[in-house]
């Protein structure tokens, strides 16, 4: 597989999340300026258009587009529903008491999952904004008595399970219908506690996704870190047969260091794309059947999120001061 960067747009902000309505040309990005912005990537010279209304008060870390509507989540703990035509907020909910790290739409787009540093996963009715269910099972504190963090969440393709992952390397898989815990897995290598030199921690599982057949669960972060002042652990992915509670592959890049911030499967194939970075960024293609890293592509800044547009054979990445488009060919 070959990947080629086509556009590399600069912005003074940090883009934590990107979304697009199916088939549309506009990209929506959640930003460090507490706002949501739109970019028309089909334009010859795409220009950033800020939503005039600013309802969030901190970094916007999750955006998802539905027809005519955008849902955003932010470090301020709120979820907002936006009218994409008027670019105004239809509904705002105080959803969590701490930072919302990620949101995820269910496969049928009827539910929104949110995870936050209050260590609670929540399900919301995507139409009404009503709270449907909560998932509580992650420890509030790390084993060393510091606040833990709940970084990411993902839906199984059939919408029956939700995975949530935390700082200390705990993966919990929940039954959506009942709220009961289905499986508990661990990826402890992704959490580094330095008891001697620096006496704090770094890392955590930053990304998670299910395979298209629902059998595999893939998580991303970075490997053990020597000097925790920097993101100097090797980019790391672990692949589980989650129902059998078996780790199938442990993959660490020898080329790239830093956090794997987002992972997503190709919808019809047995490979996934993982992105992230340290000061700079990377994109990695992983064959999940063999555990082979078949693609390692660098980027000039850290990547926080991406979306794959299979109709357009286009990849869009958002990250530190950059919004970029890429094409790929097998």
């Amino acid at each position: 597989m070959k990947i080629t960067r086509e556009k590399n747009l600069s912005t003074p902000d940090i883009l934590f999340s990107v979304a697009r309505e199916t088939g549309a040309s506009l990209i929506y990005a959640g930003s460090s300026d507490a706002g949501v912005q739109a970019w028309d990537l089909d334009a010859e010279k795409p220009v950033r258009q800020d939503f005039a209304e600013k309802r969030h008060t901190s970094y916007v870390t999750g955006v998802f587009a539905r027809p005519g509507q955008l849902i955003s989540g932010a470090y301020d703990g709120t979820l907002c529903w936006w009218d994409l035509n008027a670019k105004t907020v239809q509904r705002s909910i105080s959803a969590h008491s701490k930072w919302i790290r990620r949101i995820a739409l269910s496969p049928d787009r009827s539910l929104v999952a949110s995870v936050a540093d209050d260590m609670v996963g929540k399900l919301w009715n995507a139409e009404t904004g009503e709270l449907v269910r909560t998932f509580e099972g992650h420890a509030q504190q790390t084993p060393h008595h510091y606040p833990s963090m709940l970084y990411a969440t993902a839906w199984s393709p059939d919408g029956q399970y939700l995975a949530t992952v935390d700082k200390t390397g705990i993966i919990l898989v929940w039954q959506v219908a009942t709220g009961e815990l289905a499986r508990k897995l661990e990826a402890p290598v992704m959490y580094t506690w330095d008891p001697r030199a620096r006496r704090h921690s770094i890392g955590g599982i930053r990304s998670v996704c299910f395979s298209p057949d629902g059998k595999l669960l893939v998580v991303g972060g970075m490997g053990k870190v020597g000097n925790i002042d920097h993101l100097e652990g090797h980019a790391r992915v672990e692949i589980f047969d989650w129902q059998q509670e078996t780790r199938l592959h442990e993959i660490e890049s020898t080329k790239f260091k830093g956090l794997v911030e987002k992972i997503e499967f190709h919808p019809h194939d047995n490979w996934c794309l993982a992105v992230g970075g340290d000061h700079k960024g990377f994109l990695m293609g992983i064959n999940t059947a063999t555990g082979e890293l078949f693609l390692e592509e660098g980027h000039d800044t850290h990547i926080h999120d991406f979306l794959l547009d299979h109709e357009r054979q286009q990849l869009i990445t958002g990250g530190h001061n950059r919004l970029s488009t890429w094409s790929w060919s097998s």
């Binding site: 003074p12 902000d13 940090i14 460090s32 300026d33 507490a34 008060t57 901190s58 970094y59 470090y75 301020d76 930072w99 060393h144 008595h145 510091y146 606040p147 963090m149 001697r196 030199a197 620096r198 006496r199 704090h200 921690s201 770094i202 925790i228 002042d229 920097h230 993101l231 100097e232 830093g258 970075g277 340290d278 000061h279 700079k280 800044t301 850290h302 530190h320 001061n321």
Partner: protein, 426 residues
């Protein structure tokens, strides 16, 4: 017991007491000696203590005392109101926000040097290092000024258990007597316990015999060297008897819970025990704030520790009536860049950063200095390390204009052209 010893012990009790007036009233002999102005000043000074919370590696001013919410440099945290109307600090310090009545914030340090080694030297000695002269650090200077020759407790205790950035610091030209007791591996000083093969009676007998022989020798060979030799033995015995000061298990569990389960919490509880027993200077280093990557996550951990422990320490000191006599300082070698780097980190930055002073001699609830809206530079009341040191000296009753003699060279205790910041002094 001879009269001299009795008198010395009474004076020691006086100096260690926080209720000086009551003791004075009951001892007319001491009232007489206190009529001597210099001794009265000594008493006043010697009841003062300093606890330095050294935030090693460089804490971010933006995530602590000088937040810039809503600005591109501000990061994701909110600013919260405090117990002092009009003053806001980072939401990462909610407990301290409710205790600002005893604390002054200085937001205008410009110390220029942003490397760990030189930055730490500047911020622990109050001046730029010079070749050919070894300046004492703050702890040694305070120990020299406030410590008593006949003290049975250490003058200067420094705790630094992390290995990154560990620097012992020291007495410089003031001499090893005021150097730190440096604890790196545990709360308890090494080799303080009496060897098990020696009984307590044997230990005392040996001391008495040594004391007798030393006294006989001193009669025939009186000299400063002989006196120093003997005082060293006295200090060692004093240190051995102060072993319990380092044992936090002697504190009620409820109080230990207030300080929390972290190592920093236990160390600060030891610090309180030490200053209560009369140790003039205790440094507790909390490493390591050098958050080039993941600054915000790092500060969520470290600020949680700082906020919990510092607020418990101030409460504990206040409840014991010690806060009026104890200055608590938070300080680093520098702050962190307003610019957020690609790893969501902040790098070294010494041009506009913050520290705090709490308790003894401080006008609580005050803020001194101002940075611009993005925190990139100081726009009001810029100060240098020397101003901070002069302020600390003044707060604890040390003559900040004093000069030491290093050979034939006079060395001012405060860096040249620096004076205390009156606005933060009570």
């Amino acid at each position: 017991m001879n009269h001299g010893f009795e008198k010395r012990m009474s004076r020691r009790a006086l100096l260690q007491s926080t209720a000086t007036a009551g003791i004075l009233a009951s001892d007319m002999t001491l009232l007489d000696v206190l009529q001597q102005r210099l001794l009265a000043e000594e008493v006043r000074q010697q009841s003062k203590r300093v606890i330095l919370l050294w935030l090693a590696g460089g804490a971010s001013q933006l995530e602590t005392w000088d937040p810039k919410p809503g600005r591109p440099t501000g990061g994701p945290f909110r600013a919260i109101s405090t117990s002092v109307p009009g003053i806001h600090i980072s939401e990462l310090l909610p407990r301290m926000a409710q205790r600002l009545g005893d604390t002054a914030i200085i937001r205008s340090l410009n110390t220029k040097v942003a490397d760990h080694g030189t930055g730490a030297t500047i911020m622990t000695t109050g001046r730029v290092p010079e070749p050919g002269i070894d300046f004492p650090d703050l702890g040694a200077t305070v120990a020299h000024e406030l410590g008593r020759v006949d003290s049975k407790v250490p003058h200067y205790v420094s705790m630094y258990t992390a290995t990154e950035g560990r620097r012992k610091g020291g007495p410089g030209f003031l001499g090893s007597r005021v150097g730190p007791m440096f604890l790196t591996d545990s709360l308890m000083p090494a080799n303080l316990q009496r060897p098990e093969i020696i009984t307590e009676i044997d230990h005392q007998d040996r001391a008495q015999l040594r004391g007798f022989l030393a006294a006989e020798f001193a009669k025939r060979h009186a000299s400063p060297a002989v006196n120093s030799h003997n005082s060293a033995y006295d200090r060692v015995r004093g240190l051995m008897s102060s072993e319990s000061l380092f044992d936090v298990s002697r504190e009620p569990q409820a109080l230990r819970d207030k300080y929390g389960p972290t190592q920093f919490g236990e160390q600060c509880l030891v610090a309180r025990r030490l200053v209560e027993a009369g140790v003039p200077f205790v440094k507790v280093a909390r490493a390591w704030w050098d958050s080039h990557g993941q600054n915000f996550e790092t500060h969520q951990e470290l600020c949680a520790d700082l906020d919990h422990v510092m607020s418990a320490l101030l409460d504990d000191l206040a409840e014991r009536g010690l806060l009026e006599q104890t200055l608590v300082v938070t300080l680093s070698e520098f702050g962190r860049t307003p610019q957020i780097n690609g790893s969501l980190g902040r790098d070294h930055f010494a041009s506009a950063w913050s520290c705090t002073l709490s308790g003894c001699g401080i006008r609580g609830g005050s803020v001194y200095g101002k940075t611009d809206e993005d925190g990139r530079k100081v726009i009001e009341d810029e100060i240098w390390a020397g101003h901070l040191f002069a302020t600390i000296f003044r707060a604890i009753g040390i003559d900040w204009k004093k000069e030491y003699m290093y050979g034939a060279r006079p060395v001012p205790i405060t860096d040249f052209h620096c004076a205390p910041i009156d606005e933060v002094l009570a």
